[in-house]
């Protein structure tokens, strides 16, 4: 195994800012064009490495490009320039419980969602008890998820995603779910991850979490990488820029 988990190499991502977007054939024909747009630079030549076995934080103000970068890391967006190389199996948790079918039971949804996240049926069967146990919804597992409380829904989604057991886990602001007890459980799980030499990349606005959990962090502002390195130092630089 190499000592780099993810290599982000000169990544540039632009979006189109639409002034006019004709998403119907009718309007496209009537106006004689499909869109009027300008390019918007969301990520500008970003380069850094995420070391294997580290917990890596991404920080920055709203609209700085964090989420865009995260989506690029998760293979949802593809950069216009540059490359992102993963060394190992990757799982992204950008929103928990997406892909649940409300009419199906919790049990059926575990299998469905697990396979969307890339687990095989055998793997899910093996981990099934662990997932149910972690989510704490044992008593309701045969009920359709539409009857779940929002907390149960999110906990089940989180329990599935975290049990994919990826080499690299990407997490977006989802730590704020569940009660204190559940959050503590999640933290312990992240510690286990780290002990097993897995990499966690997380985006959060909670700088205390970054300082407490992350070894390394990257600070992004308006699409540019401002600083990368030791988490505490990066957070300090970020805070200095704000005041």
């Amino acid at each position: 195994m190499s000592d780099v988990a993810v290599r982000v190499d000169h990544v540039t991502k632009t979006f189109r800012l639409y002034h006019e977007r004709n998403q119907t054939i009718k309007s496209a024909v009537m106006r004689g064009r499909t869109s009027v747009h300008e390019e918007f630079l969301a990520l500008d030549d970003v380069t850094f490495d995420v070391p294997t076995g580290s917990t890596f934080g991404l920080i920055g103000s709203n609209g700085s490009g964090k989420s865009t970068l995260l989506k690029c890391l998760a293979n949802i967006y593809f950069p216009n320039k540059g490359t992102i190389t993963h060394f190992g199996r990757i799982a992204a948790m950008l929103e928990v419980g997406s892909g649940f079918h409300s009419e199906l039971s919790g049990r059926e949804n575990i299998f469905l969602n697990g396979s969307i996240l890339g687990m095989s049926k055998k793997e899910i069967t093996r981990k099934y008890d662990e997932i149910v146990d972690f989510s704490g919804v044992e008593d309701f597992i045969e009920q359709p998820v539409k009857n779940y409380s929002s907390g149960m829904y999110v906990r089940l989604g989180f329990a599935i995603a975290i049990n994919v057991n990826p080499d690299i886990l990407i997490v977006d602001e989802v730590l704020a779910v569940g009660d204190a007890d559940f959050q503590a459980k999640c933290m312990r799980k992240f510690e286990d991850f780290k002990a097993e030499g897995r990499t966690v990349i997380l985006v959060t606005h909670d700088l205390n979490t970054v300082k407490a959990m992350c070894d390394q962090a990257a600070w992004i502002n308006k699409g540019e990488l401002m600083a990368v390195g030791d988490a505490t130092a990066t957070v300090t630089k970020y805070l200095d820029s704000l005041s």
Binding site: T24, I25, I76, A92, E95, S98, L112, S115, I116
Partner: protein, 278 residues
């Protein structure tokens, strides 16, 4: 080839999505899967009343089966058609309907339209089984032809899947594709010999002769419709109980292969851009 392997690797996910659709569709309904028969039966009653009784479209009796029941003759063409048009309509909307999933999780996107194809095919299989039973009851000797009928079903499924892949991508960029499709499918249905026999078209075409002095006839244009050939082979196997015309079979096969290859290429080219375009 590498893409095919990737799609094949996602077959477990595909199976799960299909069962999600199948299980979720009629959950908490009293009749369950029987509901999938309701729509074809209602259409059968209407068309049999209007075209069988009032207009007397009178298709020829099955040869050599000797069957002469308009409702069953109709269903042999109508069930494949309903399957085809459902796959196109639902497949076209499949990416837009799952926009949330596409923007949040990475997986092989092609499973979304394909899962629609799978779940619709499941209902269709059920409907066709009922049709085979009905045909046997009125004296058709259908049972030995079932393997061939299944092959035809696979061919139509592949064809429908190919077209649905293209439409699903088109619908992401132009959201009114779905509405145009609804209109298009209505026209298409009446341009296909489902509720009337194709022989009526041939007769009308012979009366008119070559169009504008050329050798092109109405019938010639009429036969460009791929569904014309599919409906023909389905009737030959199920209603007539005989070997389908090999030329028709080859035409069906060519359409199926052409559609799936183009569909996959179109899908693959646009797959990476979907999360942004949605």
């Amino acid at each position: 080839m590498r893409y095919l392997r990737e799609v094949l690797g996602a077959r477990e996910l595909l199976a799960n999505l299909v069962s999600r659709e199948v299980k979720g569709k009629y959950k908490r309904t009293v009749l369950g899967q029987l509901w999938s028969l309701a729509n074809p039966l209602a259409l059968m009653l209407i068309y049999t009343f209007v075209f069988g009784l009032i207009f007397r479209s009178n298709p020829e009796p099955g040869d050599p089966s000797g069957l002469d029941v308009f409702a069953l003759w109709l269903l042999c063409g109508l069930l494949p058609w309903i399957f085809f048009s459902t796959v196109l309509t639902m497949g076209a909307g499949s990416l837009v309907a799952n926009a949330g999933l596409i923007q949040k999780v990475y997986f092989t996107r092609i499973v979304l339209p394909l899962s629609v194809v799978g779940s619709t095919a499941y209902s269709w299989l059920f409907e066709m089984a009922v049709l085979v039973i009905a045909l046997s009851i009125v004296g058709g000797f259908v049972l030995p032809w079932i393997p061939l009928a299944l092959l035809l079903m696979v061919m139509l499924t592949v064809f429908a899947a190919g077209v649905a892949l293209m439409l699903s991508v088109a619908n992401v960029y132009f959201r009114d594709t779905q509405y145009f499709l609804t209109i298009g499918l209505q026209i298409w249905m009446y341009l296909t010999p489902i509720i009337y026999p194709a022989s009526l078209v041939t007769r009308a075409s012979n009366d008119v002769g070559g169009l504008a002095g050329t050798a092109i006839t109405i019938d010639g244009i009429y036969r460009l419709n791929p569904l014309y050939h599919y409906v023909a082979v389905f009737r030959q196997v199920l209603y007539d109980n005989r070997w389908p015309d090999p030329v028709e079979m080859l035409i069906c096969l060519a359409w199926a292969l052409g559609a799936i290859v183009v569909g996959m290429i179109v899908f693959r080219r646009n797959e990476k851009n979907l999360a942004e375009a949605l």
